[in-house]
Amino acid sequence: MTGWETLLTAAIKVAVAFALLLSLTIVLVWFERKIVADMQNRLGPTRAGPYGMLQTVADGVKLLFKESVTPRRVEFALYIAAPIAALVPALLIFLVIPIGRPFTLGDRVIDLAGTDLNVAVLYVLALSSLAVYAVVLAGWSSGSKYPLLGAVRASAQMISYEAAMGLALVPVILFTGTTSIRAIVDAQAGEFLSFLGIWNIVLVPSFLIFFIAGVAETNRAPFDLVEAESEIVGGYHTEYSGFRFALFFLAEYINIFNISALTTTLFLGGWHGPTFGAPEWLAWVFPIVWFFVKTVALVFVFVWIRASLPRMRYDQLMQFGWKRLIPLTLVWIILSTVAIGFRRFGAPWG
């Protein structure tokens, strides 16, 4: 493959990923509003388009045309940089997630992922740890007290739950013996009906802790103290409006999708699933369908949690993170390490 072809493939992949994420956000916002409405015995959006599906588009257009108000006391450079800093890591994380089986075009094999890194898992963790800057900078540069309170809460919360999130992945890496996401997906390949034994979901505590920490990392209910309306107005985005606010909103929904997609990829077998003996020209569709079915199921859990659980108190949040989640993860790492050691090297007395 020549340099130009590589560059062209990469460019197409990035463009497709970008378009996909933007259109997914439109669908996800509608999805969430409908589900929450159902759970609260309301109708939700009904007017714009069939079943109100175009409501998000209408909202997006409205936000684009609204004035972006800039308060007088902002630190302008950082105030502008913060929404961008929110969106960029969210977009970059998606690039390492494979959404389907690699397919062959002519004599070349093309992955259905932006790229694959041998340290993809660490890359994801590194980028998600950068997401906190958006919140912190937005809060500080707004020059107003509620955003600052939101930012201080955010930095404490995201550092705490990042630790649990990273530690929860240690057993997965040890179990599959790799940090490449493609290899982790490959390690979960298996036949229909025996697939449960092969998916990484056998590491149940890791799965649960990763997902809980993921909810906290995306600042979603019940961990949404960062933007708790009843206490600190809008939190870090209080002083943002129009397009700049839309960027924060977009980043939040892309992050929800990313965490769900990552959980799918790392624990639920990624794009693997039965193909029902479909012919070769059709078989490549199933992996993509499976990937989105699993991911949307997890997004549904996100929404379900939001509709069901009340917001935690700040001390409860910290207690839960440091005194329950992290010790639990450490114990689980020790247990799983022993088990994996047995599996690989046999009993020490044997």
Binding site: L78, L122, L125, S129, Y133
Partner: protein
């Protein structure tokens, strides 16, 4: 000019600009942002040298954790306070120049001589093995120093907790602060 050179030049300039911002910015938040830029650019250099693992860990720890804590502290103590910028160490400026020049020479030597840096990872098995290579070195050849470092960090963590625990009564804190400030105190004389 190869693509590698282009990327290097861009991020080298970014690293320098970040470093300059770091020392010249009046506002500590902008200083922190400058340092962040420099760290991020250094991570890119690691990627250029096929050390993907080091790059990821560098971003994860320095940009993700350390700088976030810096920002957290800057926000908590308030950034509007005028800082005390009197220079308490005599000969601070000439010393900085000498040390800086020394560092520059060291970097030049390290870049030129392979007995400082060892052979490139790529020549020893390629980028695909960076995690494996690091693990082999850490848990094989350098096991004892590695464990000693672990012990050191544990001691530091325990020490921090001990300091916070034993001094959590307001009276003790006040007493400790008074002892620090009190003129003619033994410890302070010794320190000077």
């Amino acid at each position: 000019m190869t693509a590698e050179t282009v990327v290097f030049v861009i991020f080298a300039l970014a690293a320098l600009a970040g470093a300059l911002t770091m020392v010249t910015a009046r506002n500590p938040v902008y200083s922190a942002m400058g340092l962040l830029t420099t760290m991020f650019s250094i991570a890119v250099f690691f990627v250029l040298n096929d050390a993907h693992f080091v790059a990821a860990v560098h971003v994860l720890i320095y940009a993700g954790a350390v700088m976030t804590l810096f920002l957290f502290v800057i926000m908590l103590i308030g950034v509007d306070k005028a800082e005390d910028i009197r220079e308490s160490i005599p000969f601070q400026r000439p010393m900085a120049v000498v040390l800086g020049a020394g560092l520059f020479v060291l970097v030049l030597v390290a870049g030129r001589a392979s007995w400082v840096t060892g052979t490139r990872a790529v020549e020893e098995g390629g980028a695909l093995g960076t995690i494996e290579n690091v693990a082999d070195e850490l848990f094989g050849v350098w096991l004892l120093p590695f464990e000693a470092t672990v012990l050191l960090l544990t001691i530091a963590a325990v020490g921090t907790i001990a300091l916070a625990q034993f001094l959590d009564k307001p009276r003790e804190l006040a007493a400790a602060r008074e002892a620090e400030i009190a003129p003619g105190h033994e410890d302070e004389e010794r320190a000077e």
